[in-house]
């Protein structure tokens, strides 16, 4: 109804009364109010509570007092720096791998699938409608010690390489870095493929033809035309992969070992089992700030502003 306010304005002209103008001005705020109120109360306010909690002292029985004690941050980092940096490292590796795997897939769907485009797109997304946890448990089955995947890796000698790179322990894949990264990469592929596909699909094929006509070699055409034009998708895809991967702890819990613990596991344990809220809040808030800063730097360097 009033969502259309701008459409009739052209035809109704002078008939517009001042009352209608007033209503029109209020309309966007009325539309925004319930949704934005929800986000303020249940997203923004909790962030403030988290920040405040991280600077408090006390325990769950006697209650907490805000002491502006930065010691929580110092001790949290002293104790959990390895898990923190490991999370960013695993998320980074997984993001690069999802890009390397996802780009050819998005490219093939966008340019080479013809009338199967929609079917293929569905086939790429649909697997991820099966529960995240169930699929991650399936990786336990796939990577099991005497499974065909592990035997194959052993037979072609890749296992030896992985062992040299300390990606696996004692030739066992399950419960290793390799398994955690495999799971992370797998679980976040659709977050990479969909934005990539969206930006590749929008590319005007005539631009590539023009590059070819101007004697650009195929690889040059890709590097100078296709890749730059797909940058919005690359930026969105890498962000949508990196951010959840850095906070994820399902993969590292189900597929890893104590040496692959990620920061999410620590936050979960500190909040829900140790009940050390200030330490947990300090870790959680730092993760948030780290990611926001990384995202801002990255987006600025990649030069893409319109993300939403």
């Amino acid at each position: 109804m009033s969502a259309l306010a701008h459409v009739p304005s052209r035809s109704s002209g002078s008939a517009t009364s001042s009352g209608r103008v007033g209503r029109r001005r209020a309309t966007p705020y009325l539309l925004l109010l319930p949704g934005m109120a929800w986000l303020v109360v249940f997203f923004a306010v909790p962030m403030a509570f988290l920040a405040s909690q991280s600077l408090q002292q006390g325990n769950i029985e006697t209650g907490y007092v805000l002491t502006w004690d930065w010691q929580n941050y110092v001790s949290a980092f002293g104790n959990y720096w390895p898990q923190f940096s490991r999370s960013l490292y695993y998320a980074g590796v997984a993001t690069v791998l999802t890009f390397l795997i996802g780009y050819p897939l998005a490219y093939a769907i966008a340019f080479k699938s013809g009338r199967w485009k929609n079917v293929l797109l569905v086939m790429v997304i649909a697997p991820f409608f099966t529960s995240f946890l169930i699929r991650t448990l399936a990786w336990q089955t796939i990577l099991t010690t005497n499974g065909w995947v592990v035997r194959f890796l052993r037979d072609v000698g890749l296992m030896h390489l992985f062992q040299l790179a300390h990606l696996v322990n004692n030739n066992v894949v399950l419960g290793s870095q390799l398994a955690v990264i495999t799971g992370l990469t797998y679980n976040f592929i659709p977050f990479m493929v969909l934005p990539l596909y969206a930006s590749l699909e929008r590319i005007d094929i005539r631009l590539l033809e023009a590059a070819g006509d101007l004697y650009a070699k195929p690889w040059t055409g890709f590097r100078k035309v296709t890749l730059p034009l797909s940058m919005p998708g690359v930026v969105a895809g890498t962000l949508l992969t990196f951010i959840p991967a850095a906070g994820d702890y399902i993969n590292s819990t189900l597929l890893g070992n104590p040496d692959t613990t990620m920061i999410g596991q620590v936050i979960d344990a500190q909040f829900l089992r140790v009940l050390d809220y200030p330490t947990a809040a300090a870790l959680s808030f730092t993760l948030m700030v780290t990611i926001v800063v990384m995202v801002m730097v990255y987006v600025r360097r990649a030069g893409t502003e319109e993300l939403v």
């Binding site: 009033s2 969502a3 986000l39 769907i109 080479k112 089955t141 195929p218 999410g264 939403v308």
Partner: protein, 285 residues
């Protein structure tokens, strides 16, 4: 590099074939398709395992190694009543979160797509932030809110959290659809003496409906599948399906979990296929 071999072959007229290509040349030419096929296999592998192992009859408590074929789990899906109870709770929360998040998010999407107002940048930021925040941070911050307000954790707090993280995705999905509408369609309705209300209900809304449906489907799957945020905001008496699966991973995985996983896969493909068919028929009409 070969990404481009294919571009070239698609865009330039193919040179007349002179001799049979060597396998190496063939691989070079099709390397993008081969890489895509490998990626596809990687994506499908866990689902294939889930489906195959739903027909397993394992010896121990864990359904990790293939033992022998059985329809047992399919015939007795609720052998563990706790699982079906958890499934019921997840469905209820999923439907409620979807309805509320879709309604609120659609309103916001219309405001952003159709109106100018002060505070647009702040609004965009507030919508973008939940998508750019790791789940563990959102879950733990909500927990500190609920603990500080002394709100009892349970199904209600889970629902509040799910609506929160579904909202942004609804806004983005519906907004894209509203922005892609051809304004001339609405102008035509107005020219034909439809008033604003009629135009909205009979032209705008039907045109935006596919976007709203997609947003609702996305919301439901996000809510139904969420473990991390839910884990921070639930109580032992409010166990959702993902939480049940997590617990099962520690004490023994019933085969029935794979039955549910298989059903979810089939329903998802079915839902999208129906959507495609409806879309095609509309376009054809």
């Amino acid at each position: 590099m070969a990404a481009t071999t294919t571009v070239a072959s698609a865009t330039r007229p193919a040179p007349p074939r002179r001799r049979r290509k060597s396998p190496l040349a063939w691989t070079r030419e099709h390397i993008v398709s081969l890489a895509a096929a490998a990626a596809f296999l990687y994506i499908m592998l866990p689902n294939i395992v889930v489906i195959v192992f739903s027909f397993n009859l394992p010896n121990g408590r864990y359904n990790y190694a293939w033992t022998r074929f059985s329809l047992n789990a399919w015939l007795h899906p609720c052998a563990d009543p706790a699982m079906c109870q958890a499934l019921g709770l997840s469905l209820k929360i999923g439907v409620a979160a979807t309805v509320i998040a879709t309604a609120l998010g659609t309103l916001v999407a219309f405001a952003l797509a159709r109106h100018r107002f002060r505070g647009r940048a702040m609004t965009n930021l507030l919508i973008f932030m939940p998508m750019a925040t790791p789940e563990v941070v959102m879950g733990s911050s909500l927990l500190t809110l609920f603990v500080n307000l002394r709100l009892a954790l349970g199904a209600t707090t889970i629902l509040i959290a799910h609506i929160m993280f579904c909202l942004s995705f609804v806004v983005v999905t519906v907004k894209a659809r509203v922005q892609s509408l051809d304004p001339r369609l609405e102008q035509a309705a107005m020219d034909l003496y439809a008033n604003e209300t009629q135009t909205f209900w009979r032209v705008t809304l039907p045109l935006v409906a596919p976007g709203i449906a997609a947003a609702a489907l996305l919301s439901f799957s996000l809510s139904f599948d969420d473990y991390i945020i839910t884990n921070f905001n639930s109580s032992p008496s409010s166990v959702t399906f993902p939480m049940y699966v997590w617990g099962a991973a520690q004490r023994g995985t019933p085969v029935q979990i794979n039955v549910i996983g298989t059903l979810m896969f089939i329903i998802a493909i079915g839902a999208v296929a129906v959507g495609q068919l409806v879309g095609r028929r509309r376009r054809g009409a």
